[in-house]
């Protein structure tokens, strides 16, 4: 029997281009969550109100002519900008969005810093921008469940059940408003969490900090509001700003008929611009041209 060369064979096969090497990081970040039952349960919980939206579409399109239930169905809200604003900007959706943000986002960079794997990854032909893109995309992927993804499903059902593509033109704002909300709201939160996560080595501490900012912030704003009665004191409250952003993008109130805390649209846009800019600055300071190790 011949003796074969047992040495290490140099690899001369194809390699994935440098620009696509973020994909394995994204996959490794997303896959473990998709295997967690509790996490999936949370996502299903988040989709329940949207299922109600689909049911509404069904009632209006399929049962709206039935004499028995006509009056009842006529009182139900229709799928339009108002309903989508309510579904996007209500406390339930924003609360679950925050929980998922903490769950997925707090460890994005902090875990790699704690385990020292950041150096291993960035020492492997993976640029900081690709690394951050992969991490951000993982969180953004899950936050789509709280923003654009269910809206798209709702629209597909609406158009499919009514058979009227014209609905899209009449309610185009549902689509572009939701897309804008996703871009300015959840995606800015992704940037913010990336920045926050890059500043610590403990995912737990990052999560607690974000939790404090999101939930204790409104409490402090509430106390200030009770004293000053100025809606501008709600400026730093992420919750309030997300709700205001949903109203701004969809052109409808989240709680119609209730006296709201009205923030000027410019203040809301300014808040998210500031949040994104400061996050980008932090990330640039921590990653661009900086050594991975200190």
């Amino acid at each position: 029997m011949p003796v074969f060369e047992q040495g290490y064979a140099p690899y001369d096969g194809p390699r994935r281009p440098l620009s696509k090497r973020w994909w394995p990081v994204f996959r490794e970040e997303v896959q473990p969550y998709l295997r967690k039952r509790r996490f999936l349960f949370l996502l299903i919980l988040a989709l329940l109100p949207w299922a109600w939206g689909i049911l509404l579409t069904f009632f209006h399109t399929q049962l709206g002519d039935s004499e028995n239930v006509k009056a009842f169905i006529a009182e139900l809200p229709k799928v339009d900008e108002s309903l989508v604003a309510v579904l996007l900007g209500n406390f339930y959706n924003l609360f679950l969005l925050t929980i998922v943000s903490i769950w997925v986002g707090s460890g994005l960079v902090a875990r790699d810093r704690r385990d020292g794997t950041l150096a291993v990854f960035l020492g492997r032909a993976l640029g900081p921008l690709q690394y951050l893109w992969a991490k951000g995309a993982a969180l953004g992927f899950f936050l789509l469940v709280f923003s654009l993804l269910p809206v798209l499903v709702l629209v597909i059902f609406q158009v499919g059940l009514t058979g009227e593509p014209a609905w899209l033109w009449e309610h185009a704002r549902v689509l572009w408003g939701s897309a804008l909300f996703t871009l300015l709201g959840p995606f800015t939160l992704v940037l913010f969490l990336l920045a926050l996560s890059s500043m610590g080595r403990s995912p737990r501490l990052v999560g607690l900090t974000f939790f404090g900012i999101v939930f204790l912030g409104p409490a402090a704003c509430g106390i200030l509001y009770a004293i000053t009665r100025s809606p501008l004191v709600w400026f730093p409250s992420i919750f309030t700003q997300l709700k205001a952003l949903a109203e701004l993008c969809l052109g409808a109130e989240v709680h119609p008929g209730e006296p709201g805390l009205i923030l000027p649209p410019a203040a809301t846009l300014c808040f998210f611009a500031l949040l994104a800019a400061s996050s980008v600055l932090v990330l640039a300071a921590r990653f661009r041209g900086r050594a991975v190790l200190k």
Binding site: P10, R15, L18, R124
Partner: protein, 304 residues
């Protein structure tokens, strides 16, 4: 292939390495130095994880830091543990292979082979969390190797390995050097470095104290005469000849009177003269053995 030119790295007021210049050639080079000498800093600079405060570190003329093209040609085995502990060794190595551009199937196959290469074949399927220190070291070595780099930077790779694993790793490192890779291995254990290579780079307080083949380095230490042990039939007669040579600093008798220890200031001159003497006269020389041209002696003379 890797060129370090006047590179310095400061950590605030603390110097990591200071105006270091060197060329890393194909083959195995041992990186030596006491704790805090700057070995890990130099390796991190070469691996592109640190940016030099001054000077440059280049691979094929291109800077390594923040250069994915250069980083793709380097395999780095860090000194500290850097893992996703919930993965198995195979998964972790394959994942890093994918990061280096291999397809998932190719990465898994090469990860398996890299683990075989470092003698962690079947045990690579264990969770890293459950692995011993030695097994973790092997995973680190395998991940440095999985994407087939031309440059291998190994920071104390043998730490925590049992003797058979050490022997296997030393053989593997020698083989990688013989394949034409540039391998830089840092270690505190001189005999292990000596088993891998005779080419060393000695750092001390952040500066290169010596580099080259151990015998050459030894000869260059002019302040310490080379000690040579001689055993011959007529030691007294030989001593009387040797002491007259200008390169012989001292001659000491030892043992049963047939043993001599000679201190030589110029080893090559001494060898030439001794060769001529042996050709000319029968002195009954039985043993000629340099006592301190080994790595341990070089290290202690230069650093201690």
């Amino acid at each position: 292939m890797i060129r370090v030119q006047n590179a310095s790295r400061w950590y605030g007021l603390v110097v990591g390495i200071n105006r270091v210049s060197l060329d890393l050639e194909p083959g195995v080079t041992g990186l030596l130095g006491v704790n805090g000498a700057g070995k890990s800093t130099l390796l991190n600079l070469m691996a592109g994880l640190l940016q030099p405060t001054a000077g440059s570190v280049t691979l094929g003329g291109e800077p390594i830091f923040a250069n994915p093209g250069a980083l793709a040609r380097i395999g780095y085995c860090p000194g500290a543990d850097r893992f996703w502990e919930d993965m198995t060794g195979l998964e972790f190595v394959a994942f890093l292979g994918r990061l280096s551009g291999l397809s998932p199937a190719e990465a898994t196959e090469r990860a398996g082979r890299a683990l075989q290469e470092v003698a962690l074949g079947d045990e690579g399927g264990k969770k890293i969390r459950a692995m011993s220190k030695g097994m973790r070291q092997k995973v680190k070595m395998a991940q440095a190797l999985v994407h087939d780099p031309q440059i291998l930077l190994l920071d104390e790779p043998l730490n925590g390995m049992d003797p058979p694993s050490r022997a296997h790793a030393i053989a593997a490192i020698k083989r990688w050097g013989e394949e034409g890779r540039c391998v830089l291995v840092s270690s505190h254990l001189l005999h292990e470095v000596e088993a891998m290579t005779s080419r060393i780079l000695l750092l001390h307080y952040g500066r290169v104290l010596a580099s080259g083949e151990v015998p050459q380095v030894r000869e260059a230490i002019a302040s310490r005469p080379l000690k040579v042990f001689l055993r011959c039939a007529d030691a007294r007669a030989l001593a009387s000849v040797l002491i007259a040579w200008p390169t012989v600093a001292s001659v000491t008798f030892a043992g049963d009177g047939r043993n001599l220890t000679v201190e030589v200031s110029d080893a090559s001159d001494f060898r030439a003269r001794l060769g001529a003497l042996l050709a000319e006269r029968e002195v009954g020389l039985e043993i000629l053995n340099p006592l301190d041209d080994n790595l341990a002696a070089v290290f202690s003379y230069l650093v201690a």
